[in-house]
Amino acid sequence: MIKHREKKEKSPLRQMEMERRITICAFLAIPLILLMIFTYIPMLKMVQYSTWRWDGFRDPKFIGIDNYKKLLSDPRYFTAFKTSGYYFVGSIAQIAVALYFAVIFSYKMRAKNFFKGVLFFPSLLNGVAIGFVFLYLFKGDGSLNALLIALGIPQEKLPLWLGNPKLVNWSLTFSSVWRYMGNNMIMFVGAIESIPGELFEASDIDGASKWQQFKHIIMPNIRTIISLNMILAVKGAISVYEAPLIITGGIGGSMTFVLQTLNTAFTDKKIGLASAMGVVLLLIVLLITVIQKRFIEGKEE
């Protein structure tokens, strides 16, 4: 960079500085404009809307913090958070299963790539298609009941997988675990593969068991990615909407907070109230993120 300075004539350094600035602005302009228009401006607008009573068409009316008061005073809105509990339990199970398969896939195994591929494949599939797959599985005369009858369970004892309010969220959670487990698994496989092979070889020579290897080599090396996945599980659990939207439409006790927010905005046309719900969710997610930062950075020290 310094050499060619002499080559050009009229104050080449300044000319280059100009070009540098123009390049930076020109290259960042579109990405930043898109980021502003579709992320940050909507975020600010959401805060503004949350102080309005508004159907999205007629003139809005400023009502201060009434939307928030309504949210906090009506337990109906917050009970939808309970549903997230099911998905959270599901995600923890999902992480455990993913970890199990990631570990055994680090051993020698026949047809390993086939097994890995099968377990991973659902996470690439279209959510609407998965919704129909599980509707077909869970419906009264569906495949799951057919399977249970074939296994000898009497027909009258078969539950309504999607119609029973006590069961519906477990059924939906199962569909979510079925869908996303492979994704966690591949991340864990990647993390285990990045552990230097000598560690395993040395412990093999020392006669360490597989369990000892797991406890003393694998776990310490992938702890960060596991805690990251845990935090993502919490965030994922409170942001669920697609499975209930497609499979049950949110009825029969399967409503989640996000789906309720979307319905409030686009079905009930209560943009102000929906925005207040959005702000509450945003604050919760940011709080979790702050905890995550503390947690993971604390672990690494």
Binding site: H4, K7, R21, T23, I24, F27, I30, P31, L34, I37, F38, T39, Y40, I41, P42, M46, Y49, G56, V97, M109, R110, G117, V118, L119, F120, L124, L125, N126, G127, V128, A129, F132, Y136, L137, G142, S143, A146, L147, A150, W178, N183, M187, G190, D204, G207, S209, K235, S239, Y241, E242, L245, V258, T261, L262, A265, F266, G278, L282, V285, L286
Partner: protein, 280 residues
């Protein structure tokens, strides 16, 4: 003591049994849908869902799903929207990463932070205000609305490009500067082609995500003529509520491109996901 490394046969058998069981849990729900897609309506109503169809040559359901179910149009719209969006997001992503990696300037950290913060916010909860912006821009119910929503970049793509840029020696840039090349020329003629492996990774991850996205087109491309694959399939819910064989065929049609991509690009998909997660 030599038995420790080679675990006992029974442990191995258990391990295989659990793996095979898990694979069955994954495959069974898909297999029954595949069977259903080849059954006639009468056959579906009278036979056990676990039973094989009488013929895998019966294709009427696929024809019905493809034509009456608007899936042909769905694939055309998906192709247009996903194709343009991918090109746009690769450009915005590589350009942002190029600037962040090769230039030191005031506000560099702020730019990075803005993208990072944006990735932490669940965008689904802001759709009521995004909706107003889309309407305000006059692009509601057009393909452009979804394309613009997909066109921006995100922190994971930026990280994947940044990681790769670190491996591209700065002496290449310097040599080009000596030859009198502008920064734009350096980017388009040297950096962009060299980023190809990272671009492929981002194209796969983003492409699968765009193809599977349901809510964005559902909300912003309402016309039947604008349906993409996801929304065309979702529309099966009403009219075909009792014709599960047609729904099954639609589901299988939707999954075929995904299966092809997976079989062809398995390794790139795995490494892409791992790369994306390392920094995330």
């Amino acid at each position: 003591m030599n038995g420790v490394k080679d675990q006992s046969t029974s442990i191995k058998i258990v391990r295989y049994a659990i793996t095979i069981l898990a694979c069955l849990v994954v495959l069974l729900p898909l297999m029954v849908v595949l069977f259903g897609a080849f059954k006639t309506n009468k056959e579906l109503l009278t036979t056990n869902p676990l039973s094989l169809p009488s013929s895998f040559g019966f294709l009427d359901n696929f024809k019905k799903a493809w034509t009456q179910g608007n899936m042909a149009r769905g694939f055309i719209n998906t192709f247009i929207v996903v194709g343009i969006s991918i090109m746009a997001t690769v450009l915005t992503g590589t350009m942002t990463a190029y600037i962040l990696d090769r230039f030191k300037f005031k506000g560099r950290k702020t730019v990075k932070f803005l993208f990072l913060l944006a990735s932490l916010i669940p965008s689904i909860t802001m759709q009521m205000s995004v909706f107003q912006i889309i309407v305000g821009l006059g692009i509601y119910n057009t393909r452009l609305s979804v394309i613009l929503l997909f066109a921006g970049t995100d922190i994971i793509s930026i990280y994947i490009f940044l990681q790769f840029l670190e491996g591209i020696s700065y002496s290449l840039d310097e040599a080009a500067i000596v030859d009198g090349a502008s920064f734009a020329q350096i980017f388009f003629k040297i950096i962009f082609p060299l980023l190809q492996p990272a671009i492929i990774t981002v194209v796969i991850i983003k492409g699968v995500g765009f193809y599977n996205d349901f809510y964005t087109p559902f909300l912003y491309m309402k016309s039947k003529s604008l349906q993409v694959v996801s929304t065309a399939l979702f529309a099966f819910k009403g009219p075909y509520g009792t014709q599960w064989e047609v729904i099954c065929a639609g589901v299988i049609i939707t999954m075929i491109p995904t299966l092809i991509i997976f079989l062809a690009l398995q390794d790139q998909i795995y490494s892409g996901l791992t790369q994306g997660s390392v920094k995330g």
